[in-house]
């Protein structure tokens, strides 16, 4: 009996996560194009489906039907492996994300650690993509992605630590519960909140930190040689990763599913798409930062501030 429940639960989780990934990609790409359009005196997609909602589906079908081109000098196994390594971890990273008190694929004591660890694999995928296709633009893009990873990962972790101190747990669900009877952690930790926002923009390779792609410099960066479905896997991974990062941000800082009037999942989705909208707003407003500026920004400004913030929090907690 317990065995059967576990199997059904696992199947439901897989189905749910696949649905979330698919529907999110359809919706976020549509949203991004609409947001970009309205910021640029345009309308964005309007033709396919109501208000152009099915445009992404049509684009997806087009990408699936296209030929996948393998460069002759590419390292084929790595070339094929790279998009998969980018995509699979984000599926797994959705496991511990709670959408309400009881909607969660799998409750983990170390859910937060798992998400952070899987986030690193994204960069491995980019590195393999850049290395495997034997293209100088792609290699430059990949090397940029690897160079930037430490510059944002350490401040990111140092921003998460105060939250763990406040809530006393690594479980994403427990972190939300800890905010139930107090203020949202964004109000206790405004500095960490802001730095986290910057860091996830860097982590998801979004403009103004999109060096790995950097269209005007590196053509398309690490995925220059990818076409058809292989390219769309990267695309899917990026948008899903944005979703995961935004979900973690709302869990850590904005109280996850907590909120008046609406049921939990609605609040959770509202907060997630609020963060996604912010990231789109950044992208369609700012020019790209230069690589060395980003590195010195990460190491010389974000790191000391977040370290100081962490030490202060720890000191105050100890004193209390």
């Amino acid at each position: 009996m317990i065995m059967e429940i576990t199997i059904v639960r696992t199947l439901l989780s897989i189905l749910g996560i696949t649905l979330v990934v698919g529907l999110n990609a359809v919706f976020v790409v549509w949203l991004e194009r609409k947001v970009a359009g309205h910021m640029q005196y345009r309308l964005g997609p309007t033709e396919v489906g109501p208000a152009g909602l099915l445009q992404t589906v049509a684009d997806g079908l087009k990408l699936v039907s296209k030929q996948i081109i393998f460069p002759r000098s590419a390292d084929t196994p790595i070339f094929i492996l790279a998009p998969i390594i980018c995509l699979v971890p984000v599926f797994v990273a959705l496991l511990p994300v709670p959408f309400s008190e009881n909607i969660q694929a799998h409750e983990l004591d170390v859910g937060l650690l798992l998400v952070i660890a899987l986030g690193l694999l994204n960069t491995l995928g980019i590195l393999l993509a850049g290395w495997g296709c034997d293209n100088k633009y792609a290699l430059l893009g990949a090397s940029r992605a690897v160079a930037q990873i430490l510059a944002y990962k350490i401040p990111l972790l140092l921003c998460i630590l105060p939250i763990i101190l406040l809530s006393g747990t690594f479980s994403l669900r427990e972190i939300v519960v800890a905010q139930d009877h107090s203020l949202w952690f964004a109000l206790y930790q405004p500095v960490a909140f802001l730095i986290y926002l910057v860091a996830i923009t860097m982590e998801t390779n979004r403009s103004p930190f999109d060096f790995a792609e950097a269209e005007s410099e590196l053509v398309a960066g690490f995925h220059t040689e990818y076409s058809g479905m292989m390219f769309s896997l990267f695309f899917l991974a990026e948008y899903t990763y944005m979703f995961v990062a935004a979900a973690i941000a709302s869990v850590l800082f904005l109280g996850g599913w907590l909120g008046p009037f609406f049921p939990g999942p609605v609040w959770m989705l509202l907060k997630i798409y609020f963060f996604l909208f912010l990231m789109m707003w950044f992208r369609w407003t700012f020019p790209r930062v230069r690589v060395d500026q980003m590195l010195s920004f990460g190491w010389k400004i974000l790191l000391p501030i977040s370290l100081l913030n962490f030490l202060l929090t720890a000191g105050v907690m100890a004193a209390l």
Binding site: A36, M39, Q40, Y41, R42, K136, Y137, L140, S143, R144, S207, P208, D210, A214, E215, S216, E217, L218, V219, W284, T285, F286, P287, R288, V289, R290, V291, D292, Q293, S296, F297, K300, I301
Partner: protein
């Protein structure tokens, strides 16, 4: 926000580590070169050791073509070199032939020429503004600039019949007269842009990332400007107050009241500021020509077949990119014996190798964008 020493440059003395160097072909198909320009980059990681532009992918033998056609037939070819400032090219050729033959130009025609050329200058600067920001990775300013550029193109379309490759000026005048609708439209555009330029500054000029990306990047010293023959906003960004409209005035420019914007620092930011101020000055010029538009004919009597007397002549005009000089030799027949174009983009590109040396790839593309090159003009 960032370090004050933003201009990261490579120490060229450490070159020699041959194992890590590589050659990167930037172009001829690359989103950062805005045309079929190819730059062979010798790189060490992200740093550029040397950059060699390779020209000629768009070479169309413009000078040779001009030697096989009559003076009138050459006129439409003018718009095909710098397709963003076709009217400045129109003006250079038309003024040159008028100079050779001694034709008179009615006052009203001169006013229409200046009015339309300055509108064309603004539209060219708008396109540069968008393309430069694209090079820096910002997409939205491009479409904002295009929205305003569209207004100019619509205006000029009603007058000249074309939107980009105008062939509007005639020897001894212009092709069509302006009416009150056009003049009102131009005045409305001036009023709109006066207030709307502030949004450009809000969106871009004040942005910290933009300033850090352009300040102290690609500095051109005043000493180099003359050696490389730089003109236009690239020269004026380095503190030289040189503008053909000021130094060798033509048409009615001496009667108009306008400033020549100059910036001292010589970096990408200075060139950016010069161009944005030029848009404002062009708005002033347009307003003055609308207010002072005289009545009268728009074309003087010129013979059907143009045969300039034997001799040679040069004519310089200020295009949005710098000084365009056309030199023509006539042997008394209806076909020019020799035509030479001295184009601003070609001269401005020549300093690129020097500026790119030791720069990061991202900076080199910002520099390339700030030079405002039109590749068909470079290649001719």
């Amino acid at each position: 926000m960032f370090d004050s020493q933003t201009a990261a440059t490579y120490n060229l003395e450490t070159v020699g580590d041959q194992e890590n160097d590589f050659i990167l072909n930037l172009g001829p198909q690359h989103p950062g070169t805005h045309g079929v320009l190819r730059v062979v980059l010798h790189m060490d990681g992200e740093y550029i050791l040397s950059a060699d532009p390779v020209l000629g992918y768009g070479h169309r033998m413009q000078e040779k073509i001009a030697e096989t056609l009559t003076y009138t037939q050459v006129l439409p070819y003018m718009a095909r070199m710098d397709y963003l400032s076709a009217l400045s090219y129109n003006q250079a050729w038309v003024c040159l032939v008028e100079k050779m033959c001694g034709y008179e130009v009615p006052r009203r025609a001169e006013y229409i020429r200046v009015l339309t050329t300055e509108l064309n200058r603004i539209s060219s600067h708008f396109l540069w503004f968008g393309a430069f920001l694209l090079d820096l990775g910002a997409f939205t300013p491009f479409l904002h600039a295009f929205e305003d550029r569209e207004k100019i193109l619509d205006l000029l379309e009603t007058l000249t019949g074309s939107r980009l490759t105008y062939c509007f000026f005639r020897f001894g005048g212009v092709g069509a007269d302006v009416d009150s609708v056009f003049l009102k439209g131009a005045q409305d555009f001036v009023d709109h842009m006066r207030s709307h330029l502030a949004s450009y500054h809000d969106l871009v000029t004040g942005n910290v990332i933009f300033q850090e990306r352009t300040r102290d990047v690609g500095v051109i010293l005043p000493f180099d400007t003359w050696g490389y023959g730089l003109t236009g906003p690239v020269l004026r960004g380095s503190g030289e107050k040189y503008d053909v409209r000021l130094r060798e005035p033509y048409s009615i420019y001496p009667e108009l009241d306008f400033e020549i914007p100059v910036e001292q620092t010589g970096d990408c930011l200075a060139r950016y500021l010069v161009r944005l101020q030029e848009i404002e000055e062009s708005l002033n010029i347009i307003e003055q020509t609308i207010a002072g538009m005289p009545e009268g004919p728009i074309r003087s009597k010129v013979p059907k077949i143009i045969k300039p007397p034997e001799g040679e002549a040069t004519m310089s005009v200020e295009t949005p990119r710098g000084e365009l000089m056309i030199y023509a030799v006539s042997d008394g027949s209806k076909i020019p014996y020799r035509v030479k174009y001295r184009v601003p983009s070609f001269a401005n590109l020549s300093i690129f190798s020097k500026m790119a040396k030791g720069q990061l790839l991202a900076d080199a593309l910002a520099v390339l964008g700030s030079l405002d090159l039109v590749i068909p003009e470079v290649d001719r």
